[in-house]
């Protein structure tokens, strides 16, 4: 996929997303790849909230809001229904947040990968429950404050490695992406759409409201996350992990932390420890 091939058609528009919302951008780009022959399942979260204010109806494709815990289970049902009707050409897409994926939704996701029906599950990862007022999730990174991990009680657990979790299910295709690398993300969506089975893409979407940075800096923050090694652009295919983008210049993680407010309670020693941890990481997928 090349930039000039990207559709100009907007199948998601005029939402109530916060200024600078990268989750909305991820959804727009997804629909540019998949087109109108797709149906969406969206659980509780930012996207269902910002898409459901009368009179705006930002989705120009069918969408159902599903119980928080049940996104992937609903995908299995829809996909099986389409299979029965001989309509496997329709893209069945789940679009859930990090909490809806890694916490309350993980059982349904695990079950659905096991069921094996064809769907694309996209986790828009803004690293906390932003819609309900910035509470931590299983994908909040170590060191971040949220309203339920305030001040010195900052998040003290590492971010769950969802890519490895789904990979260990033997999923045919899974990937991580970041909104600051749109072509990389869209290529992955395109690839997933061509696979006859469950697929998973986790896209990092920096959140101005929850992370504490100006609304015009989401793309910059995403780049900093990748350049600092806090986030990696990976694929899991045919049982193997590989990196799809390696930043030319590495950036100290301290710069990424300084660009937002949620890490500001970390001492220089703690930042140094995180830097050492990043530097010591092996190849993608290795433990």
């Amino acid at each position: 996929m090349k930039l000039k091939e990207v559709s100009k058609e907007e199948l998601y528009r005029c939402s109530y997303g916060c200024a600078g919302c990268a989750s909305v951008l991820a959804l727009r780009l997804t629909l540019k790849v998949l087109g109108e022959n797709s149906v969406f399942v969206v659980p509780a979260g930012c996207i269902s909230t910002v898409s459901a204010y009368y009179p705006q109806a930002p989705f120009f494709v069918p969408m159902t809001v599903m119980a928080f815990a049940a996104t992937a289970a609903a995908l299995s049902g829809i996909s099986a229904g389409f299979k029965r009707r001989g309509r496997e050409d329709i893209h069945v897409v789940g679009f859930a947040g990090d909490g809806g994926t890694a916490d309350i939704g993980i059982q349904a996701l695990s079950g659905a990968i096991d069921c094996g029906y064809k769907f694309i599950y996209i986790c828009y990862d803004n690293e906390a429950y932003m819609n309900t007022g910035i509470q931590r999730s299983g994908l909040t990174p170590y060191g971040a404050t949220t309203t339920t991990t305030p001040g010195r009680c900052f998040e003290n657990r590492p971010k769950k490695d969802m890519l490895r979790i789904v990979a260990d299910h033997g999923i045919p295709y899974a990937a991580t992406a970041c909104i600051s690398y749109p072509l990389d993300f869209m290529r992955k969506v395109e690839k997933a759409s061509k696979i006859n089975g469950p697929t998973y893409i986790q896209v990092l979407v920096p959140c101005p409201t929850g992370w504490g940075f100006a609304p015009d800096r989401a793309i910059e923050l995403g780049r900093m996350a990748v350049e600092s090694g806090m986030w990696n652009l990976l694929e899991f295919e045919n049982g193997e992990f590989h990196t799809t983008y390696t930043p030319r210049h590495k950036r100290p993680v301290a710069e990424y932390f300084e660009a937002q407010t949620r890490f500001r309670q970390l001492s220089p020693e703690q930042v140094e420890a995180i830097q050492r941890e990043i530097d010591s990481r092996g190849a993608p997928g290795s433990s």
Partner: protein, 378 residues
């Protein structure tokens, strides 16, 4: 006495901490999240434990677990989360694990109209979990009462070894009012076994039907079980009398203490022709409406249900015999009105004024209905 300006949710935290709650497990959901956030901020300093769980099933399960471990435990949620907790609330009833569940109601069903206020969960609070089970449900009408009823909920849970539900709503949870907080509150601890471990029968009711509860890890080996069990905590097998005895005791331990559990507030009940029955935030409107009605010469009174369940049938029945009409005001499609009709048993007329569009039931609407009742009686 300390005077503070608090929201209903904050007052709830204040009441919980002062009555000894030292464990909170929860999951974000508007309009209850402030309770979790405040607990996250304050519990560590008190040596307590806050855990954010992966969902509401887990929250409720963790609360039951902490209760078995000997801590006073609480969670808070709203509609969809309350639905997810229901199975484990039933477990807490059967295990007789003291705990408090706060439901800050929002407009449902399902995701509903997030997060506009409603009182649609009054029956879910009573019958949300399956099977014949008792329920204690308290509903505050002010910030101050959010504080007081949380204290009461914690104490009742401990005293009677049962889950207690505090049914707040989006209006009360987020309302800010001045509250005078007392220097101390009554604190009740669960009954604990006086006998040696060898003689401990975990589900033997004792004189008031409440079995003493041994904290896990204190040398008492017992099965906390959700299966229908005998006094020793073992499955009843084919013993029908034991099965019946368990259910009867689970109910009677609450119904025999109605005087401690059932709270109501009456105004002008003695000289009224029509009495407005209301609860929670709507009772504020109802009081204003009743006052205006009286100034217009209509003999109106107010019966405020502080405890929704067990339902004060006897009181309603007594009031119904003295007056001409009961008007039930509530923010749902008319749920408690049926219960009031049943209790009045034809002794008085029963009218309903219900609003279920996410908007507050205003005094004018209740007043209009009172006028309608008056016109009907002319």
């Amino acid at each position: 006495m300390t005077t503070m300006v608090l929201s209903g949710n904050e007052a709830c935290v204040e009441g919980a901490l002062r009555s000894g709650v030292r464990f909170f497990a929860g999951y974000p959901i508007t309009p209850s999240s402030e309770i979790a956030e405040e607990m996250a901020r304050r519990l560590p300093a008190l040596g307590g434990k806050f855990i954010q769980m992966e969902d509401e099933l887990a929250s409720m399960a963790a609360v039951v677990g902490a209760s078995l471990a000997g801590l006073k435990a609480m969670t808070a949620t709203s509609g969809p989360g309350f639905s997810l907790m229901q199975e484990n609330i039933g477990m807490a009833v059967m295990l007789e694990a003291p705990c408090v569940v706060v439901n800050v109601q929002r407009a449902g069903p399902s995701t509903g109209w997030a997060t506009w206020p409603a009182q649609g969960d009054v029956m879910a609070a009573r019958w949300g979990t399956h099977g014949d089970h008792p329920a204690i449900v308290l509903t505050p009408w002010s910030v101050k009462e959010s504080f007081e009823l949380t204290v009461r909920a914690v104490n009742l849970a401990e005293r009677l070894r049962t889950p207690v539900i505090l049914l707040s709503d989006a209006i009360i949870g987020r309302l800010r009012e001045k509250v005078d907080l007392p220097p101390s509150v009554p604190v009740v601890d669960r009954p604990r076994p006086a006998m040696a471990p060898d003689h401990y029968r975990p589900y033997a009711g004792g004189p008031d039907g409440v079995p003493p509860m041994a904290d896990f890890g204190t040398g008492y080996r017992w099965y906390a079980t959700t299966t229908t069990h005998n006094e020793r905590g073992y499955p009843v097998g084919v013993d029908a009398a034991a099965a019946e005895g368990l259910l009867k005791r689970l109910h009677s331990k609450i119904h025999d203490h109605q005087d401690e559990v059932v709270l109501t507030e009456g105004r002008w009940l003695e000289d009224s022709e029509v009495v407005v029955v209301a609860y929670g935030s709507v009772a504020r409107s109802a009081l204003a409406a009743v006052k205006q009605a009286r100034s217009r010469g209509l003999k109106a009174g107010l019966l405020r249900l502080v405890t929704l369940w067990p339902f004060p049938s006897q009181l309603i029945s007594q009031v119904a015999q003295r007056i001409r009409g009961l008007l039930v005001a509530e923010m749902n499609m008319g749920q408690m009105v049926e219960k009031v009709r049943e209790a009045s048993c034809g002794a008085s007329e029963v009218w309903s004024v219900a609003r279920f569009n996410g908007q507050y039931l205003m005094p004018e609407q209740i007043l209009d209905k009172l006028e309608e009742v008056r016109r009907a009686w002319r």
